[in-house]
């Protein structure tokens, strides 16, 4: 009786949808809470690089500091400036936040695993889209709407300037970023992120075949997620705080959340495209290797932040349009010549 029930196509379909729902909830909750450890790590690394201790008061070694920050932010007043466009001002953080999460719908964290007890095979990705990388780039590009709307709706000069700068920077570097991804696609012959990782198994990592593409991707990626040395949109010295100058309380927190999630997804993308995803020596399971690589890249991004100064805006545009864009076109041509 049970066997008959479990083999019914409708029941199978429902089980599949249920598994997708569970994965969506788990991934979203994990990503939603990732900024808590990340802010702590970032401040601790900053402290030690600058020969300080970093947060130390709340909990042992300050480990509860992010929780305290979160509680503080929830209890803050949600200020909406009287000149602002209230509706756009209210929804802009959510518009910025949703695409950053939607990227994770197709990110593969590992191969299939079998869950003990119920003996069911589950893939460690939510869905394997045929258009994987194109989807990721398209959705990640949507975040710029939230940022420019937030900057414009605040009706404050600093916020408007920050929003404009941010959008110009993001669209400029998006080109170099997607051209670098095209180099990888030419080597692998597939847009699906799972296929891209499988093609690299056995140490055939794309960084060996696409060294120039990797450098372009790393630089453009740093600019795309607004990190130093490209964090012009929130240049404290000249712009106050950039596009979120007028935001307070949880709406401000949503913008910060977006930035951290974007940092994670950019590191994840870099691992998948260039560092072989979950490929690694066999003594650890694939997902552990995947997380180690991602953590290392996040650490390097944080390290960069406290090592390099910030570029000027004209330098930023020069790097994006006059150096990275021609270089990435060249990379595509060279790769094409080698591939055919």
């Amino acid at each position: 009786m049970f066997e008959l029930f479990i083999s019914n196509p409708l029941v199978l379909m429902m089980i599949e949808v249920l598994v997708i729902c569970i994965k969506v909830v788990v991934v979203t909750l994990v990503v939603f809470s990732l900024p808590l450890p990340l802010t702590y790590i970032e401040r601790k690394v900053a402290g030690h690089i600058q020969v300080r201790l970093g947060p130390y008061r709340v909990g042992p070694h300050g480990i509860l500091q992010p929780l305290a920050d979160m509680i503080k932010l929830i209890f803050k007043e949600d200020i909406i400036p009287y000149k602002a466009d209230p509706w756009l001002f209210k929804i802009a953080p959510i518009i910025a936040m949703v695409p950053a999460f939607a990227v994770f719908a197709t990110i593969p964290f590992g191969e299939k695993v079998t869950i003990p007890f119920i003996d069911k095979e589950v893939t460690l990705y939510i869905s394997d889209m045929d258009t994987g990388i194109l989807y990721v780039l398209a959705i990640a590009g949507l975040s710029v709407y939230g940022i420019i709307l937030g900057g414009w709706a605040s009706n404050s000069k600093y916020a408007l300037l920050g929003g404009l700068r941010s959008s110009a920077q993001m669209i400029s570097y998006e080109l170099a970023l997607s051209f670098a991804c095209i180099g990888v696609v030419m080597v692998v012959n597939s847009l699906s992120l799972v296929d891209i990782v499988r093609a690299q198994s056995g140490w055939h990592w794309n960084i060996l075949y696409q060294p120039l593409g990797f450098v372009i991707f790393a630089i453009a990626g740093l600019a795309e997620i607004n990190r130093i040395p490209f964090d012009l949109p929130e240049d404290e010295g000249t712009l106050g705080a950039g596009y979120h100058a007028e935001y307070s309380s949880m709406r401000f927190a949503f913008f910060m959340l977006t930035e951290y999630v974007a940092m994670v997804s950019m590191s994840v993308l870099m691992v998948i495209l260039f560092f072989g995803g979950w490929d690694g020596p066999g003594f650890l399971p694939g997902i552990v290797w995947f997380l180690i690589k991602v953590a290392f890249i996040i650490y390097v991004i944080i390290w960069t932040r406290f090592t390099y100064p910030r570029y000027r805006y004209d330098q930023l545009m020069t790097i994006g349009w006059k150096i990275l864009l021609p270089l990435s076109l060249l990379n595509i041509l060279i790769t094409g010549l080698v591939v055919i």
């Binding site: 709706a153 404009l164 309380s249 949880m250």
Partner: protein, 119 residues
């Protein structure tokens, strides 16, 4: 398979739901004491002058956006091309080479016209 795109809808819905819940909790526990100075846009403590959204921005941003659209469409053409390049061989490569050259001429023109200078 449309089911591969179902998770996108689910994630979008779930994130909007969570954001709304957090904002709801925030609206319950946060103080609300607005007064005129607190609600005015931040301008280093001075009275804000004029409207910021009246459209005073550097026209360069617009030029950059136009250039971006040109190259972004090129990206869309390049992705399917990159997938089938190995099967189609030299013909596809030469065709795309011509296509990229035409766009590269556009980039060189914009460069010479000073659209990329930011002073």
């Amino acid at each position: 398979m449309l089911i591969t795109y179902l998770p996108v809808l689910l994630i979008v819905g779930f994130v909007i739901f969570m954001a709304t819940m957090v904002l709801f909790v925030n609206s319950l526990v946060s103080p609300k004491k607005p007064f005129r100075e607190k609600l005015s846009p931040w301008e280093c403590g001075m009275e804000p002058i004029g409207n910021a959204d009246a459209g005073h921005f550097k026209v360069h941003f617009f030029v950059i956006a136009i250039l971006f659209i040109v190259f972004d469409v090129e990206t869309l053409f390049l992705f399917p091309w990159a997938v089938v390049l190995r099967d189609m061989g030299l013909v596809a490569f030469v065709e795309m080479f011509i296509f990229i050259s035409i766009l590269a001429i556009g980039l060189v023109y914009a460069w010479k016209k000073g659209a990329l200078e930011w002073v």
